[in-house]
């Protein structure tokens, strides 16, 4: 979500426009979710941190100094709550939740099966492999890419706020991590 849009929506929502709030949630929710996912919290913790970030954002709505940076504000809030969870539990609950990895093949509802073509099955398999290789990347790459893959693509300022990395190093790290992912896929013959 670009800054002009975010700024206008924040101001409108602060003035009582519920539709503007909804648009903010729709535009920035995937970013917040990406941040908590990047930190590998358990599902329960992830849900709580996500909610905490939005509750606090709602609470500060009329007081946010730079409304255009709403994405960075939310990302940074989510990050700090994630770090507290990690500090508190002193151990990371890894997201090796099989449901996450298998979700594609799990979608076997009757309606779905009717629609499934061989092409779609091959596509799902590609997506599943891609995800698996992504999950097995080193921790820093996995974190960075998980945040970068939010929809819409976050700005580097947002990514910086989400992960505490300098804006200037995001580009090179991104390039390197994507190259690494691609090398893994190639090694598996997945490309």
């Amino acid at each position: 979500m670009d800054r002009t849009d975010a700024g206008a929506l924040v101001r409108a929502a602060a003035d009582g426009d519920a539709a503007a709030w909804k648009a903010l949630v729709e535009g920035l929710s995937p970013l917040v979710w990406s941040v908590v996912r990047a930190h590998r919290l358990s599902d329960a913790d992830a849900h709580e941190v996500y909610q905490t970030a939005w509750f606090r954002f709602a609470q500060h709505l009329g007081r946010i100094r730079e409304p255009g940076k709403a994405g960075a504000w939310l990302a940074s809030t989510a990050r700090h709550e994630c770090l507290k969870v990690i500090r508190n539990s002193q151990r990371l609950t890894l997201t090796d939740d099989p449901r996450l990895l298998d979700r594609v093949s799990e979608d076997g509802t009757p309606e779905q099966s009717l629609l499934d073509s061989e092409e779609a099955a091959a596509q799902s398999e590609r997506v599943r492999r891609l995800w698996q290789e992504f999950e097995e990347l080193g921790e820093r790459c996995r974190q960075l890419l998980r945040v970068l893959m939010a929809t819409p693509p976050p700005s580097y300022q947002d990514v910086s706020a989400a992960l505490g990395i300098a804006v200037g190093s995001i580009g090179p790290l991104r390039q390197r991590c994507l190259r690494r992912l691609r090398a893994r896929l190639q090694a598996r013959g997945a490309i």
């Binding site: 929710s29 917040v32 849900h47 509750f55 609470q59 996450l100 594609v104 891609l130 090398a183």
Partner: protein, 176 residues
């Protein structure tokens, strides 16, 4: 590819580099051009399918608009033992201590497994609500010395809304 990498790294190191986690290290291997943007876009699509925001969770964020309250002052978190306190060796089960401040009003809170206790300073009676989200909270009363106790275990996000005299103060949302 017949550059210095060939002299310095053997294939084993190359493989190792794929798995090591230190990105600050030197040596971009094989500087082949590829469309990073396309791979990122594939990941974006994969995330949308495999790890989307749970719809019920997003609905909670939409409903959180009700928490937008222009009349209340926000008491900011100024101390959180989880972050600001030095760990005490051998003591693992310490209660979480929080301090919030809005202007002259300070709220000290201690979160325990049983619930919470705290004090409003300067000492004054207050009606307090423990909020857990955009819905009515759990009511408490602070006595003349500003002390309050709540016997509901906190879980998840919470905030306290305090009414003292004509003033409404809400503590910053936190995860218990």
């Amino acid at each position: 590819m017949s550059d210095m990498n060939g002299d310095r790294y053997d294939d084993g190191l190359y493989d190792h580099d794929l798995y090591e986690d230190d990105l600050s290290g030197e040596g971009d291997f094989g500087d082949e051009e590829f469309d990073a943007g396309m791979l990122e876009e594939e990941l974006r699509q994969a995330a949308a399918v495999l790890d989307p925001v749970p719809p019920e969770l997003q609905q909670i964020a939409v409903d959180a608009y009700a928490l937008h309250d222009l009349d209340a002052r926000v008491a900011e978190l100024t101390f959180d033992s989880l972050v600001d306190a030095l760990p005490v060796r051998g003591v693992t089960d310490t209660p979480r201590m929080l301090t919030f401040r809005a202007g002259e009003v300070t709220v000290d809170v201690e979160v325990t497994a049983q619930g919470l206790m705290g004090q409003v300073l300067p000492p004054q009676p207050a009606r307090i609500e423990i909020l857990g989200g955009p819905r009515p909270g759990f009511p408490l009363t602070a006595d003349d010395l500003g002390r309050f106790t709540g016997d509901v275990p906190l879980s998840g996000p919470f905030a306290l809304r305090l009414r003292t005299g004509g003033d409404v103060v809400v503590t910053e949302w936190l995860r218990a």
